[in-house]
Symmetry: D2
Subunit: 96 residues, 4 copies
């Protein structure tokens, strides 16, 4: 698993808290799917629940992304690290 | 959370086991992100880890979908429930 | 460009007509973006128009997919070509 | 179709040229699918060609997005329009 990295640009505290709550909820949902799989579920019901968790993770991703754009990308020209910021952002957006 | 539904078309045992293992691993990954958020992480590192979990869930979804197509959709004409099977499948694929 | 392939399983005539109309409309939209690019457009306006064309193509894809599921995949067990049908379908869905 | 909008932030000339070439090629591909549909194609072949055009449009979108991030979003804090830039970008990314 990822080590906690030191970085001059941190995730804003409020956004971090929101992301934590949403990820905790996604984890609970995932546990529900695991419980569902102890029974004899119908494939489509499993697929629907997986989609629901994906939707919740999309939402967390959007919240973190918005904060990153606001607090870090928008000020890249001021800091002089535009190329680095854009490269890593494009890399991350590829998988969205 | 979803109740375990009785259904004549069940998820194949081998696929269910595989899905369980992969979801357990995704849950561990999610716990890693939660731990990461107790520190002061960089937004992009959080986004990368969320993408990784999404990728794992996509993979579980693909495995369940393939099994569903093979064991249930391909035999829909024989059972005479093609319309129902296709409707619910299209609904699920919308969110992929 | 793709050669027209002979295949025992054809796209249903009504769906083919619908797909043709929608693709013609998408082509017109694409020509509109090309015209837009002869001027001096704002990036976000270009991105919005590209998304709109993508949405139109998604819709054509969904219509063709639904017809394929109904007329070809649902009867795979009867024809005895389930493995082939599922393999090629999973391949196509990967890129959706 | 979209009117050509006056905007202080234009798409960079080099990127505009690249986008034009790629969109022209996507248009040619779309015309190929339309020709394919005059025959009696197999659904999966149509789906594959639609995916190929989608991939080409994704690529154009990425090129325009990268240019927008570099030339307009990264300097938003300097111009003082961060909120506006981030709002419209998040809106566009929703549909990616």
């Amino acid at each position: 698993m990822p080590a906690i990295q030191e970085h001059p640009l941190h995730l804003e505290a409020k956004v971090r808290k929101d992301a934590q709550n949403r990820l905790l909820s996604a984890k609970g949902h995932l546990e529900g799917i695991l419980k569902m799989l102890e029974g004899d579920p119908y494939c489509v019901d499993v697929l629907k629940q997986i989609s629901a968790v994906q939707g919740a993770l999309d939402k967390v991703g959007s919240i973190v992304l918005r904060s990153h754009l606001e607090h870090h990308v928008a000020s890249a020209a001021q800091r002089g690290d535009t190329d680095k910021m854009v490269d890593e952002l494009m890399e991350v957006l590829k998988y969205r």
